[in-house]
């Protein structure tokens, strides 16, 4: 399966410390009321993408996340049970997965399909497969938002993700605009639905000349790993490689199964 990337945007909280809500209000003149930090993060990435590329009304939108908005779940439960308060209306609305995709679609003026896919395994690669299967039929372009918010306290999200308590989690949002059409593309990305064993991956990597990056979940794999963690790190790695016009191989792992994606810069 192969897709072309027309443009991208990236934000990581450990690399740029900004007040996102304030930027959305002041720079982008967006109404940020009734939304929480997860939605603000998604909207910020969307605005960065909008500055760099043309968004069409019929573009498809996919939002993918490792664990979604854990903060609002904790908040809702605390209100209802600990503080004996009723569910707050907008906490309930923000609890739902498609709330984020609604706000993103509205800010980008998209009226095509939108899907919120959530997973703590192969989050990014599996979303690419879904997106590819859809636009092969529709022949439209698609925007993928990969988002993870480092919730407070971080122990909850780390337990949900099953990562070590010492791991440093960060917030990040990364967008790409995908197409089946190579014209004006800045990179091509290849992936498939197949999962590989560690031995198979090592055999493939033995002949690999490109930079190889992997998730910190790939503990048995000798490769470069980001010291910080968020579930959609693969999306950031893709954007980072495109920024440097580099080719790259990214490997993700879940329960001894591996998936691979390959990025080729076209610049």
């Amino acid at each position: 399966m192969k897709l072309y990337i027309k443009n991208y945007s990236s934000y990581r909280s450990d690399q740029e410390d900004i007040n996102i809500k304030q930027v959305l209000k002041q720079k982008y003149k967006l109404d940020t009321r009734r939304q929480d930090d997860f939605i603000h993060l998604a909207l910020y990435g969307a605005q960065l993408l909008k500055e760099k590329t043309v968004i069409r009304a019929d573009d498809e939108l996919y939002v993918t996340s490792g664990y979604g908005d854990v903060d609002v779940v904790q908040r809702t439960n605390t209100y209802v049970n600990k503080e004996k308060q009723p569910v707050k209306l907008f906490d309930f609305i923000n609890l739902l997965g498609n709330t984020t995709s609604y706000y993103v679609a509205k800010s980008l003026n998209i009226s095509g399909k939108n899907i919120f896919q959530i997973s703590d395994n192969f989050t990014y690669i599996n979303s690419l497969i879904s997106l590819y299967a859809s636009i092969r039929n529709s022949q439209k372009d698609a925007i993928l938002c990969a988002i993870d918010l480092a919730s407070t306290p971080t122990e909850v999200s780390k337990r949900v993700l099953g990562v070590d308590e010492d791991a440093e989690t960060v917030s990040s949002v990364n967008y790409q605009k995908f197409s089946l059409d190579a014209e004006d593309a800045i990179a091509e990305i290849e992936f498939d639905m197949k999962t590989y064993s560690l031995d198979e991956v090592n055999t493939m990597l033995a002949e690999e000349n490109r930079t190889v990056l992997s998730s910190i979940r790939c503990m048995k794999l000798q490769s470069l790993k980001d010291s910080k963690f968020f579930e959609t790190l693969a999306s950031y790695a893709v954007n980072s490689a495109m920024k440097k016009n580099e080719d790259m191989v990214y490997i993700d792992c879940f329960e001894e199964k591996y998936k691979i994606l390959k990025l080729k810069s076209l610049r």
Binding site: T76, V87, L96, R159
Partner: protein, 362 residues
């Protein structure tokens, strides 16, 4: 590559598939009036009796496997749609212990349900979709697309949602929860009933003698309002048009609309308008949520199974609970109608104007 629904099963307030269809055709609502979720108020709910939602998933999944042509699910993709995932158990632990400390992360998040089934049945891979009330409809949509590109040969689509305080109280806060058994499309309807269910459909690239074809899928996004649909019904119409076009059918080839029909003022008004604009009175329409309640993320899968059964029974389901039809320009039967049914369209609409329609046929 075509996609076929070869085996399915469900459990809901009315029981399994067979019991549910008897209730649908006999107009016997399985909804109950409950006073345990909301302080000093009652709500119509669709409730099941079970130990926990995970055991219900086990039972439904095992039954589909047993009745399928597969020995196991090792080469099968699982796509599970749910609006709240493992929230029910998370709430129970938190409510009794007043702390998140002992919540098992593997049974907590949106994808906890699919992760659990993946390990239990050793599925090849999983996806968890959460688009509120369109979650499992979107799972069906994705399944069809993945079969088309030959990514998988076998896909188990599941819709799962267990009743929990967050959803019941959330819909109550939105003032859309009925204190009675819901009455879709009725002029005097006063809201929806939150419900729970587990549904599973095995989608394959091979046709069997009793297959129902997953003929077309369509989606649209209103991006009109967070909780209200586009009053001109643009999103609902686009969703149905896209599904019918994807199926390669004309409007006139659809015989029955299994409506989203939640019985909220906004949904039924707009969905009726969409059906009126698209079909006029040339198609039968009913909502089976008068029997099952609104099973939220499971609704797409539950109503897909009902649609398959309608095709097999060759009988249009009547509208339960209807006394006075609000929109007189659509055709909502109050008695079952025997006829040769070629194609059925099932609608699922969610907050944020997230619309999905699925066409089933023989």
């Amino acid at each position: 590559m075509n996609a076929y629904i070869n085996t399915y099963e469900l459990l809901c307030d009315a029981g399994d598939t067979k019991s549910l269809m008897e209730a649908v055709y006999n107009k016997e609502s399985a909804l109950v009036i409950d006073n345990s979720y909301i302080k000093d108020a009652t709500a119509g709910l669709g409730k099941m009796e079970y130990e926990d939602i995970f055991t219900v998933m086990d039972a439904v999944t095992a039954k589909v496997l047993k009745e399928s042509n597969l020995e196991n699910f090792h080469n099968t993709l699982l796509i599970l749609g749910s609006s709240v995932g493992g929230m029910q158990e998370c709430e129970q632990i938190f409510y009794s212990e007043k702390s998140f400390k002992n919540i098992d992360p593997n049974r907590y998040s949106m994808n906890a349900l699919s992760d659990y089934l993946m390990k239990k049945f050793n599925f090849y891979d999983t996806r968890a979709l959460s688009t509120a009330c369109t979650s499992s409809a979107n799972a069906l949509l994705l399944a069809k697309r993945l079969i088309e590109v030959e990514a998988y040969e076998n896909i188990l689509v599941m819709g799962v949602d267990g009743l929990c305080y967050s959803t019941v109280l959330g819909f109550y806060a939105l003032s859309v929860l009925s204190d009675k058994k819901c009455t879709p499309f009725d002029k005097n309807r006063n809201g929806m009933n939150v419900a729970e269910a587990v549904g599973a459909l095995l989608i394959q690239n091979v046709k069997q003698s009793d297959s129902i074809e997953l003929k077309g899928v369509g989606a649209s996004s209103d991006a009109y309002h967070m909780t209200n649909p586009d009053p001109e019904a643009g999103g609902a119409i686009a969703s149905m048009e896209n599904a019918i076009a994807d199926a390669g059918l004309d409007i006139g080839e659809i015989d029955y609309v299994n409506a989203h029909g939640t019985a909220t003022i906004a949904n039924d008004r707009v969905e009726s308008l969409a059906i009126e604009k698209l079909f006029g009175k040339n198609v039968y329409v009913s909502s089976t949520k008068a029997i099952t309640g609104h099973t939220l993320g499971a609704a797409g899968a539950i109503e897909a199974i009902i649609s398959c059964e309608v095709l097999k029974h060759a009988m249009i389901p009547p509208q339960t609970g209807l006394k006075e039809l609000e929109n007189q320009n659509i055709n909502v039967p109050v008695q079952s109608i025997e006829m040769n049914i070629r194609n059925v369209i099932s609608n699922s609409f969610a907050f944020g104007g997230n619309n999905t329609s699925i066409v089933f046929g023989v």
